[in-house]
């Protein structure tokens, strides 16, 4: 049985789950992407219905970030192609064999909530998602791996 995987259209669907500008990116594990999606990641950018998106690949973390982009900065991470292979291996290592039981998780990443205080305790808006391959819909994720998936999927500001 083949492991269900995410297409780029699924990533777009995640980003448009909520109103525009609420979340600018979605982070997923690199090895959850379909081969077709990986080929798009290698190109670094994507356009759909006149909207520009770009990919960021975080090889060490095994994470691919898919985010909205203006056409002027769309090529900023075009080096993605060189990194995707390593990211897929890192993602598999992060998860361990069979630990997610085929669950496809994603984390929407939004802006900082309120103001950043003097001690720099920024609180970021995120939303944990699980993908249902049968309906190709994203639903809220509230499972036992919630903290783990946030820890693994949320790309630190310094890396992003």
């Amino acid at each position: 049985m083949t492991h269900p995987q995410l297409d780029v259209a699924d990533l777009v669907r995640a980003l448009t789950l909520f109103q525009e500008k609420r979340y600018h990116a979605v982070d997923v594990f690199a090895d959850d992407l379909s081969d077709a999606a990986k080929r798009v990641v290698e190109r670094g950018t994507y356009e759909q219905e006149g909207r520009a998106y770009r990919f960021g690949v975080f090889r060490e973390l095994g994470v691919v970030r898919f985010e909205q982009a203006s056409t002027s900065n769309a090529a900023a991470v075009a080096v993605a192609g060189a990194l995707i292979g390593g990211a897929v291996s890192a993602a598999a290592k992060q998860k361990g064999d069979g630990i997610l039981g085929g669950a496809l998780l994603g984390l929407l990443v939004g802006g900082v909530l309120g103001s950043v205080d003097a001690s720099n305790n920024a609180v970021r808006r995120v939303f944990a998602l699980q993908f249902d391959p049968a309906t190709r819909e994203w639903t809220a994720y509230d499972g036992a791996l919630l903290r783990w998936m946030k820890d693994r999927l949320l790309v630190p500001d310094s890396a992003a």
């Binding site: 789950l17 909520f18 103001s115 001690s119 609180v123 808006r125 995120v126 639903t139 809220a140 509230d142």
Partner: protein
């Protein structure tokens, strides 16, 4: 109306044996009733962030026999043969028993308030949660009589009508209550009444238990006040409870803290004290919850109102998260559904 008729005689030993035999045949029913009550309480207390130890038991047949002997002498009109044969469980209301041991008297009161929310109660005056805490009361605890199911809940017919006596007590009071019960009740019946020295020691233990209650409360209040480190990561319902209290500078009543924490964990990168501060003052968020629930707000506790108040900042997320919730429709779920319904009535174009 005064009953002038002579009280019935105390139960005879053969009568007691017959009632105990009848009880033995029904014992599994009471064991199940106690287990259902304790299971529900464990779930709800965890949700509410209240540290607890919950236990349940069916009354031991020997203890029932002893109780029938004593009570049919003390209260012969209540503990009479006909009434006991007709419905043993409505006369002896502790055939199923459940005990909740908590740290503080505040927690004891909070659990007492939860009883009517989670269990149907028999229609009798001694059923509602009542706390014995008079200066001269030898025994401090909250008692209630409950059925092992909630109002309007699908009935498990094997326990329909079964009554469970619920005792809620602090750790310190429990220590005293148990020793006092053993010394003054059981040993009196065994012909070993407490002497002056034992009574003095019991008196002192009671004082120590009262002091321990106060010290535990003071310690926990102090710890709650220290939840001011903005980087502190909130990891469980109890932690969230104290963090909310510290931020509000008062107690915030409510049950579904675990659900609130789950929502926050789904929606924030890290649930810290700083994050709570960014969400706004507790009373402001609660006021928003009240506003959203309009005239229904007084049906809900403060944690629920706070969660509903968060709809202002996390409306789409809470709506999406709530769709994925499984299990019984709790007060929090009902409140969120209601608030969303009211919102869509007011702003149909937004939804």
């Amino acid at each position: 109306m005064v009953d002038d008729a002579a009280p019935p005689p105390p139960l005879t030993e053969p009568q007691i044996a017959a009632i105990v035999n009848q009880y033995k045949r029904e014992m599994a029913r009471y064991e199940k009733a106690g287990a259902l009550v304790s299971d529900r309480l464990r779930r709800e207390l965890r949700q509410a962030g209240i540290k607890h130890m919950v236990s349940s038991r069916p009354k031991h047949p020997d203890d029932l026999a002893e109780k029938l002997r004593r009570k049919s002498t003390e209260k012969p009109r209540v503990y009479n043969w006909d009434a006991l044969r007709e419905n043993l469980g409505s006369v002896v209301t502790d055939l199923a028993g459940c005990r909740v041991v908590v740290y503080t008297t505040d927690d004891e009161l909070a659990v007492g308030k939860m009883v009517a929310q989670f269990f149907a109660q028999p229609p009798r005056t001694d059923a509602h949660a009542a706390r014995r805490d008079g200066v001269d009361d030898p025994y401090w605890a909250t008692h209630a009589l409950v059925h092992p199911y909630a109002d309007k809940e699908a009935l498990d017919t094997t326990v329909e009508g079964a009554i469970c006596e619920l005792q809620i007590v602090t750790v310190a009071a429990h220590l005293f209550n148990e020793i006092e019960h053993d010394v003054t009740y059981k040993q009196r019946d065994a012909g070993l009444e407490a002497d002056d020295d034992e009574r003095q020691l019991l008196h002192e233990i009671r004082g120590v238990a009262r002091v321990a209650d106060r010290l535990v409360s003071a310690l926990l209040e102090h710890r709650a006040g220290r939840r001011e480190d903005v980087a502190h990561v909130i990891r469980d319902a109890e932690d969230l409870k104290y963090a909310l209290w510290a931020w509000a500078e008062r107690r915030v009543d409510g049950v579904e803290l675990q659900r609130l924490l789950s929502l926050l964990e789904q929606s924030l990168d890290s649930v810290t004290v700083a994050a709570l501060h960014q969400l706004g003052a507790v009373d402001v968020v609660i006021a928003e919850g009240r506003r959203r629930l309009a005239s229904h707000h007084d049906e809900y506790d403060e944690v629920t109102l706070y969660t509903v108040g968060l709809l202002a900042q996390f409306g789409p997320e809470i709506r999406t998260a709530a769709r994925a919730w499984r299990g019984p429709k709790t007060a929090l779920r009902r409140a969120i559904d209601l608030a969303l319904e009211l919102e869509s009535e007011q702003n149909p174009e937004k939804t």
